[in-house]
Subunit: 214 residues, 2 copies
DNA sequence: CAGGAAACGGGGAGAAGATCTCCGTTTCGT
DNA sequence: ACGAAACGGAGATCTTCTCCCCGTTTCCTG
């Protein structure tokens, strides 16, 4: 039932204000998910988008569908950032560094909604997008590792989880502007990931499977 | 009105089960605040503590008072950890490292409740505890910096905010056990903070004043 | 530029969940 | 063993979120 709205919409050319509002809602939802988590009130998203709540419900059947769309968007944009960094940067670690900071700007934290309780983790499109992203980022890391620039004991899970955590708004504060600090913290993390390793890491890197079992 | 319950309690020696339950509630609240933020349902805290909800309301007039107590507890314990690391470790950076990991174990993330909207930031006791902690941690960092082990462009705000962020539960997941990864991430961060600096940091470190203005 | 269809926004009903109290029962201290 | 204090569960009240209704506005087409 959820996917119908989207399908019907493509059938006939939508009005320009409709598509514009749709984009606004998605952008607002991405921000809101990052700031308050996947359970943020839908009315709050509508308000942030500058539209009435009915408009949101007209475009998206329920929270489930909205999360699905936002997650797909974010996955795609993160992947794009990784691909362009991979293609355009000559230095392997610099490519990784660029990706990390761009991913932060793209609000990679919105992907936390992927882990929402009611989210369909088995959707083919999502799986495909996730695998693609995983592949590109892994390539970024492998390149840096083979170039002797990245320590060998860090995995993709370390990177993605740490980015997500460091780019979230500080808990309890409405708008304490993590943007001011997160790039510093990311830079410190990256420096810590440089080879040669300055210490030994305990445990193992996170994998996507670690989050499957809710 | 909030502080009365605590004051009255100290007047006469409380029953052992009462004090025991009080401790349990505080511990449960600390965990719950870290996991779900300062707005977690009070009934959920009571349930987690293994007591009836009425018992919670008997000990703490409202959420405000509970947060106050938990924050004070956490501040004190973090400070203790910093002090013992300072006193017992000979190597300056090792002292800092030890503090960071212990602070993570002590759920420093509970301090996010300090930033809760209705929290009284001007309470003299809280200010005093915060200043004390700030002083000890600053000393830890200064020592490491003077020993040439800590890069000079990181501040206490970088450390505290990053710890808080990295030790929070991953958004959207009920219990994805950050414990498994957070020590890895903290270690990477610490490695990145080691001297000599491997890159240049942008911006400036966070200060407590940055969070005053809500 | 005018007619009609589609989209919009605000308000509010209904449902879900959180807060906090009442009161019969249990546990502690003397 | 007795009285006082604390406990726990159930439920009344209040808040908050969801989602629909319907009068109004905006956009496309001829």
């Amino acid at each position: 039932m959820g996917g119908m709205a989207t399908a019907e919409r493509r059938a006939q050319p939508a009005r320009v204000d409709a598509t514009r509002n749709r984009e606004r809602i998605i952008a607002a939802a991405r921000e809101a998910f990052v700031e308050h988590g996947p359970t943020v009130p839908l009315d709050a998203i509508a308000h942030r988008a500058g539209v009435g709540n009915a408009t949101l419900y007209r475009h998206f059947a329920d929270r489930h569908e909205l999360i699905h769309v936002v997650a797909s968007y974010s996955l795609a944009r993160i992947t794009e950032q990784a691909e362009s960094a991979l293609a355009e940067e000559t230095d392997a670690f610099e490519a990784l560094r660029r990706f990390v900071h761009r991913a932060a700007d793209e609000r990679v934290g919105a992907l936390c909604s992927l882990l929402y309780e009611g989210f369909d983790k088995n959707d083919p499109h999502v799986i495909d997008a996730r695998v693609r992203m995983e592949a590109v980022v892994t390539e970024l890391m492998d390149n840096a590792r083979e170039a002797g620039q990245l320590r060998s004991d860090v995995g993709i899970g370390d990177l993605m989880v740490a980015i997500t955590q460091l780019t979230r708004p500080i808990a309890g504060t409405a708008c304490a502007h993590v943007e001011r600090f997160m790039h510093r913290h990311l830079q410190l993390l990256l420096d810590g990931m440089r080879a040669p390793a300055r210490s030994e890491l305990c445990g193992t890197a996170a994998t996507f499977e670690d989050f499957e079992t809710t």
